[in-house]
Amino acid sequence: MNIEWYIVLSSLLFATGAAGILLRRSPIVILLCLELMLNAGNLALIAFSRMVGNEEGQIFALVVMVVAACEVVVGLGLIVAIFRRKLPLNVDELRGLRG
């Protein structure tokens, strides 16, 4: 398969993740959509790495995976803390940043 197929797939997955962030109200699901977008990026990176012919893209994708893992940890910790304080787990109702 030509690389362009992978790239198009990656952008499709990215767009899907973006739509998910904009449409869902539960913070957990929003985080999941965030994972989608990150993975789409990973796919693109690895595809390009194959296209170029060296593994540097794969290193980048590995680090992205590490970042995603850390971010998930912190995000889920936040969600647990919110749940513990008996606040509604609804992104629309958590409006503290209102200026």
Partner: protein, 669 residues
């Protein structure tokens, strides 16, 4: 030491005195402040003598020096230095100012003794002397204006010295505002001078003026008229005179210093100093002479009708300054200045004597209630008499020689000036009349209550502390007069000062007896010898004839006033009835105050009200509020973006990204 070095010292001492008292007034005892004040002016007088001696040691033609300390402003072609100009005219003024001021300081030492604001008084007095000296010693127009303005401020500070007295503060403001009008005239004149001549330095301006201006030209006339505005405001000539009678609200030493001897003579000095310019603008000089003549006569008529002792003397000041203004405008420079000197002596003396009598009257100033002080206060009465005789130009007194030297010059110049001399003689008759009206009311006769108390007990009558005009009650705390009053018979310093001035009032005229002595005129001659009018010299015979006429008129005036107010006291009442409109006109000061109120004060207030109600509210306020509301509205719009919904932020993010990507795609295709 050079003359200019002495001159700088003359300026330095009163300034140091004023600052020293002002800075140390919390720690220094009151009497010490008084002593510092006297010493400062005394030293200034001594240095003035130093200047004189140094000048006399020089050749007559070389007696003019300029000296500057540092550059005041060097900008755009103007080079103004902090400089003084020492010549016979300024030396003369310095001696008169410091001499009379030192006596007044001595007088105040005793007179203001129980006043809570004693220290402040002396600081202000010293500051005034410094300002006046700065004015007369200034070597360029800028410093002149600075001294002019300082003198105006000192006058304000001293007139409203008893600042809790409503009438005093109102009078102070009136004096200041009218003085500022004069300042504007002076400043505009300076602008025109610098535009035409290119410099503000006396030497340069007076040298270049005859070449720059054509005789009788429009610009030079405008300059001189503007200078006259300043001179008239400061010297209380019509129509800028309304502040002087009100300024009698200040303590008596203030009246005698500022409003008799020094500040009001600043206008005379100005015209004398700028005589080169006035020679080039004969129209302006003539206008000045006419105004002087008019003031002379009008003030005389008003003085006859007044009942407040200090106001009578104030109007007589206006009248005598009219003589001086007339003198220096028509070319009798030295004569006018001679009268300035003698007037300083006898007018200051008159005010001092009046102060003594008013103290005995427990600060009441109405002559209708005064009588019989000859028996109660002999020394003060004698001094009052001496001053009155000099004012009326009784033969032999100083006023006799000085006033008539002006009128003799006017006669000698001829033409319309001859008629001015006639007017001057009429004024002299009026002067003798109102002066002795005052004296014959106050001195002879049965002693009034206050005088009676003094004769019997030797103590002063104690009345309630109140405003002499409105009779509002006051207290002796700071801001109002002190609780004790002081008369010359009981205060050595007051008596000494009055004695010295009395001596001057009697004998100062002897320096300029026509044909016999010529001390003053020859001293002042180098300053004025460039003027074409200086060549007019009345002959000795003409002078003596003028003196004779003057003497006769003076004696006649005294006799008529004796007749009206001693011999047949019912006659004045008859005159008042028969000539009621005339009497009312004089009593109400020729309605000048009312006219100014109508023509000037009310329109200005109306403009102010309009500005406040319309302009301020709608234009200024509208602009400011409008800006505020616009900004607030914009802020509100921007704030709406921050609605707190994470998803809408994400929406904006992705939308923005999509938009950017679109833009880049399109621009690169």
């Amino acid at each position: 030491m050079s003359a200019t070095a002495w001159a700088w010292l003359v300026l330095l001492f009163p300034l140091l005195g004023s600052l020293g008292i002002a800075l140390g007034f919390r720690v220094l005892p009151a009497r010490l402040c008084g002593a510092i004040g006297i010493a400062a002016v005394g030293l200034a007088f001594a240095c003035g003598i130093g200047v004189l001696v140094t000048l006399l040691g020089e050749d007559a033609e070389a007696r003019h020096h300029a000296s500057s300390l540092w550059d005041y402003a060097s900008v755009a072609g103007l080079d103004i230095k902090l400089g003084i100009y020492v010549d016979p005219l300024s030396t003369f003024m310095v001696l008169v100012v410091t001499g009379v001021s030192s006596m007044i300081h001595v007088y105040s030492f005793g007179y203001m003794k129980s006043d809570q604001g004693y220290r402040r008084f002396f600081s202000y007095l010293n500051f005034f002397v410094f300002s006046m000296l700065l004015l007369v010693l200034a070597g360029n127009f800028v410093l002149l204006i600075v001294g002019w303005a300082f003198v105006g401020f000192a006058s304000y500070a001293l007139v409203s010295f008893w600042y809790r007295r409503q009438t005093a503060t109102a009078a102070g403001m009136k004096a200041f505002v009218i003085n500022v009008v004069g300042d504007i005239g002076l400043v505009l004149a300076a602008f025109l001078i610098v535009r035409e001549v290119g410099s503000l330095d006396y030497g340069t301006v007076f040298e270049r003026a005859p070449e720059t201006f054509a005789v009788g030209g429009g610009t030079i006339t405008a300059i001189c008229l503007l200078l006259l505005v300043g001179a008239f405001a400061k010297s209380a000539q019509i129509p800028f005179h309304t502040w002087l009678p009100d300024a009698m609200e200040g303590p008596t030493p203030v009246s005698s210093l500022i409003h008799a001897a020094t500040m009001v003579t600043a206008g005379v000095y100005l015209i004398a100093r700028t005589n080169v310019l006035f020679v080039l603008a004969p129209t302006a000089a003539d206008i000045a002479a006419f105004v002087g003549l008019a003031t002379l006569l009008i003030a005389g008529t008003i003085a006859i009708a007044q009942t407040d002792m200090k106001r009578v003397i104030a109007y007589s000041t206006m009248s005598q300054i009219g003589y001086m203004i007339m003198g220096v405008s028509i070319g009798a420079y030295s004569a006018g200045l001679f009268h300035l000197m003698t007037h300083a002596f006898f007018k200051a003396l008159l005010f001092m004597a009046a102060g003594s009598i008013i103290s005995a009257m427990a600060n009441m100033q109405n002559i209708d209630r005064m009588s019989g002080f000859w028996k109660a206060m002999r020394f003060t009465s004698i001094m009052l008499l001496v001053g009155g005789l000099a004012l009326a130009a009784f033969p032999g007194t100083s006023g006799f020689f000085s006033k008539d030297s002006i009128l003799a010059f006017a006669e000698a110049r001829g033409g319309m000036y001859f008629w001015m001399a006639i007017g001057g003689y009429v004024g002299a008759f009026l002067t003798a009349l109102y002066t002795f009206r005052l004296i014959f009311r106050v001195l002879p006769g049965r002693p009034c209550t206050e005088a009676q108390e003094l004769i019997e007990t030797g103590h002063l009558y104690h009345g309630p502390a109140q405003n002499p005009h409105t009779l509002e009650p006051e207290d002796p705390d700071v801001g109002f007069p002190g609780s004790e009053h002081h008369i010359a018979e009981q205060s050595r310093s007051m008596a000494f000062a009055m004695a010295v001035l009395g001596f001057g009032a009697l004998f100062a005229g002897l320096v300029q007896v026509p044909g016999v002595t010529d001390v003053l005129f020859s001293f002042l001659e180098p300053t004025f010898h460039d003027s074409p009018l200086a060549s007019i010299h009345p002959s000795v015979g003409a002078e003596w004839r003028g003196l004779a006429i003057g003497g006769v008129i003076a004696v006649l005036g005294i006799l008529v006033s004796w007749l009206l107010w001693v011999r047949q006291p019912e006659l004045p009442a008859l005159f008042r009835q028969r000539l009621r409109p005339v009497y009312l006109l004089c009593l109400n000061k020729w309605y000048f105050d009312e006219a100014i109120d109508l023509l000037v004060v009310r329109p200005v207030l109306a403009i102010g009200r309009f500005a406040n109600r319309v302009f301020e509210r709608y234009v200024v306020d509208g602009a400011v509020t409008g800006t505020e509301q616009t900004v607030r509205g914009a802020g509100g719009v921007v704030r709406a973006v921050q609605n707190g919904f994470v998803r809408s932020y994400a929406l904006l993010l992705i939308a923005g990204f999509a938009g950017l990507a679109l833009y880049f795609l399109l621009s690169s295709s």
